[in-house]
Symmetry: C2
């Protein structure tokens, strides 16, 4: 069987169960379904909300550029117990899009951006719409029903320390660490874990000391100096391999 085409219907647009309200795709997703793929009435597609819910649907009708769909089967998954969130020092990096794609593929639970002393460029106030769009595209391709949650952490180091509350383990990846642990897959892949990485150019020693004093564990990815996106991907890949509960 050919894989069904997937479309993203955001969580807030899903009708409450039993409400009898229709499933309506709008905007770019509806355009893609109707105009680009020319899905016929009755044609079957997959909708997903990026929060663990998806389903099989048939196109009922087109209505002013919107697509009205009838559910055939619905699935809802509990939130995975193992959660890795990366807190990445902000960069102007052109590789951010690529990282967003890989975060979906490797099933990271979240990406948070924070401003470090050596961060370049302006940290936006909130995650950008285009970041989510990038992740949606990746989720269609790899079938991950969960989109990583995006966050912008304001307040610098204090903000980051506050953000870290609620995680079972917080690792600080810092190349200058003297007694750094090289994490095993299970270190990053089990439980609720936060992995903090600096921006390109690394952390200032005072920044690292402040975070270690706040209880973050010092960690390393080996003797080589890895690029920002390589280090982030390696953390996500380790966690992916260390998870036991994946479907």
């Amino acid at each position: 069987m050919a894989r069904l085409n997937s479309f993203h219907l955001p969580p807030e647009a899903w009708p409450a169960p039993g409400s009898g309200r229709p499933y309506v795709l709008e905007g770019a997703e509806a355009r893609h379904l109707l105009k680009v793929l020319r899905t016929p009435v009755g044609g079957r597609v997959r909708l997903f909300d990026g929060r663990g819910r998806d389903g099989l649907f048939a196109l009922e009708r087109a209505e002013g550029g919107r697509a009205v769909l009838a559910p055939e089967s619905l699935a809802e998954r509990p939130e995975p117990p193992d959660r890795l969130v990366l807190a990445l020092g902000w960069n102007k990096s052109g590789r951010r899009d690529w990282l967003l794609e890989k975060a979906v593929e490797l099933r990271a639970s979240g990406l948070a951006f924070w401003r470090a002393a050596r961060s370049q460029g302006d940290l936006p106030d909130r995650p950008k719409e285009t970041w989510t769009e990038k992740m949606v595209q990746a989720a269609k391709q790899c079938g991950n029903p969960w989109l990583p949650e995006l966050a912008v952490v304001s307040g610098g180091l204090d903000g980051l320390v506050a953000f870290a509350r609620g995680f079972e383990r917080c690792y600080l990846f810092w190349e200058n660490a003297e007694t750094a642990l090289i994490p095993r897959p299970e270190d990053l892949g089990s439980g609720r874990v936060l992995a903090v990485l600096g921006p390109e150019g690394g952390l200032e020693p005072e920044e690292a000391e402040r975070l270690l004093a706040a209880g973050f564990r010092s960690a390393s990815l080996g003797a080589s100096i890895l690029r920002w996106e390589t280090a982030a991907l390696l953390c996500m890949g380790l966690a992916h391999l260390g998870r036991r509960n994946e479907p």
Copy 2:
């Protein structure tokens, strides 16, 4: 101290020790040193050969677009005992360049390309010049004194089986494997290891069976279907973390 600019002088261009012959940079590398960076006579740079040899040099003179350099100190490293080579199913992938960069950064020892049943596009007869150039750029950035060795394996599966001789362990990453090992960092990072991946679209069952019959061990990167370049990077990242002998 600011990091010195690095230039690649291929192994065959290094004068034999004690020969008294000069160190001469040509072509694009000389142009970059002389015209772009306008290195003054006496200016210091690093040369590396990509086979573990490098040194500190001072510019002696420019000579018809070539740069003649005098050595101040030279270093030669023994070949690392732990070697990971990836054998990648050929693809038209636009992400090949990116993978070449990451192979340098994560210190893979080699990349070999082979033609699988589902390979798209023409496998070239030999590694392309531009691939090496891409790796040289990456090596300048991350300081790895070794360039991964590139190979094109002809002869399909038989060629691949022949290529695999001489490796201590050969892993076949195959998503349909029933009893697949998820490798630990040390599995890929210690000894002479070959990791075989299919092209985008995966392996045909008969291909996998042929390789398993030839003694390859079946391995997995988890339940998600990863993209070609993500799977390759994850193998290289694991090996990087599993190595004990890195400087």
